[in-house]
């Protein structure tokens, strides 16, 4: 009991990738329980967004938990956190379809989620300010302006919107896409070193 308690405490410091690997290697449910526990709140909220009913949403969370326990060992996952919403969305939509309640997602949103499955390692990049400035210069102007205001001036989305005149949704989009592009550029710069 004592050893188990220590181990459970230690698991809290493990990365998602390490927990996935340990679960796939051993089949020991405690690794996946720790992993899923990190995102239960988000999964529940997404389910609730689709299913509305809280009891249905709780059942769906448990169904997803059970399903992932089964399919995870045979699935190649690079980033669990970005893979999870895709799975949750798919399960919720399947559930609604079975009930004859078809809900279509805005196409742009679905694509965005899928694109984010292509993630980067959860480690810090070995980069300096010069590389960031160089990578920033290669972005679209709108993205560059928004990123500058957000990261260098520490403005909120709302303030960036007010400063640039871009609608709030566009600001978020510029920031998301710009940051993703910037990371890609930085990865290329690191690879070229």
């Amino acid at each position: 009991m004592f050893i188990r308690g220590i181990r459970q405490q230690a698991l809290k410091d493990w990365t998602d990738e390490r927990l996935v690997e340990a679960f796939c290697d051993t089949g020991d449910q405690q690794y996946f329980t720790e992993l899923f526990g990190r995102y239960t709140m988000q999964v529940f909220l997404i389910c609730k967004q689709y299913l509305s009913d809280r009891e249905d949403s709780r059942e769906m969370v448990m169904r997803i938990f059970s399903k992932l326990l089964e399919i995870l060992p045979g699935t190649e996952i690079r980033n669990f956190r970005n893979w999870l919403p895709v799975v949750v969305q798919r399960e919720c939509l399947n559930h609604l379809r079975k009930q004859g309640r078809f809900v279509s997602l805005p196409e742009q949103e679905a694509l965005l989620w899928l694109e984010e499955v292509e993630e980067y390692p959860a480690t810090e990049m070995p980069i300096g300010e010069a590389e960031i400035i160089l990578a920033l210069s290669q972005l679209d102007e709108a993205q560059r302006v928004c990123l500058n205001l957000f990261f260098f001036k520490k403005m909120s989305y709302q303030q960036v919107s007010g400063q640039t005149g871009f609608p709030l949704n566009e600001v978020k989009s510029y920031l998301q896409n710009g940051k993703r592009q910037l990371k890609k550029q930085l990865l290329n710069l690191i690879a070229a070193k």
């Binding site: 988000q42 967004q49 809280r54 709780r58 978020k172």
Partner: protein, 252 residues
């Protein structure tokens, strides 16, 4: 600019609620918004929260955490697990440690023996034989000395045996036969040979007793070894008395 590339932790329910209510300080707000740029999961969760602003989520989450904690997947429960049984591992470790300690203790006298044993060189033996001028040409003795010089003490012991059958009164040869037997892996035989030498040749008493003590040590007959060493320490010539005292201290 670490914020641009660093991996950030997902949002807590409290952060989502306070962000939605615009109750965050500037630094936390920046962390939340920066994280939202990278995390589709938290973005979707925030959208859901903003759509309903349900303040009673805590109860659902507590219930879910409980269900998840208690859930045992039927297929996984039936699967053989490779996880380490810590109790078994600890038991194995304990047994191995005890075995290692026992082995260490068991080999203690062998290690002591190895650290103090040194055989006189065969050239010294040959010189000794030359000085005495006897049995110089005995083929078994010469063969024994050859083996001894080559470090093959077991073979030397056998050649000494053949020689000593013909010359039982040659206690100098007996001493070296005992040393050869001792280091050749026959400590019991060595003890007999060395005892005979120490009884019959007072000039060889100290040296024969020194190797006799080592023969008892090799056999793990500690009281016998100690008795001889104590006698040597009190009465022997300084060289052997010193060796005996040192070995007695190490035995203690």
């Amino acid at each position: 600019m670490k914020e641009l590339t660093a991996h950030t932790a997902c949002l807590s329910l409290e952060e989502i609620q306070n962000y939605a209510k615009d109750r965050l300080d500037e630094a936390t707000r920046f962390r939340v918004e920066n994280h939202l740029l990278d995390c589709a999961l938290c973005r979707a969760a925030l959208d859901s929260y903003l759509a309903n602003r349900d303040e009673t989520l805590g109860a659902d989450l507590a219930l879910l955490q409980q269900q998840i904690g208690q859930y045992k997947h039927p297929k996984l429960a039936a699967m053989p697990k490779k996880r380490i049984n810590y109790v078994a591992a600890a038991a194995v470790l304990l047994v191995l440690t005890a075995a290692a300690a026992a082995y260490w203790q068991h080999t203690r006298y062998d290690r002591l023996y190895a650290s103090v044993f040194s055989a006189p060189k065969a050239s010294e033996v040959i010189a000794m034989r030359g000085e005495n001028g006897v049995q110089e040409a005995d083929p078994d003795l010469l063969q024994a000395l050859d083996w001894y010089e080559a470090g093959d003490f077991a073979a030397a012991s056998q050649s000494f045996d053949r020689y000593l059958q013909r010359q039982p009164g040659d206690f100098q040869a007996g001493l070296y036969a005992g040393i050869a037997s001792l280091n050749g892996g026959y400590p019991e035989k060595a003890a007999e040979q060395l005892t005979a030498v120490s009884i019959n040749d007072p000039k060889l008493f100290d040296e024969a007793n020194w190797y006799l003590a080592l023969a008892f040590l090799k056999q793990k007959k500690l009281p016998d070894a100690k008795a001889i060493l104590e006698n040597l320490a009190q009465r022997a010539e300084p060289v052997f008395a010193g060796k005996a005292k040192e070995l007695l201290e190490r035995l203690e």
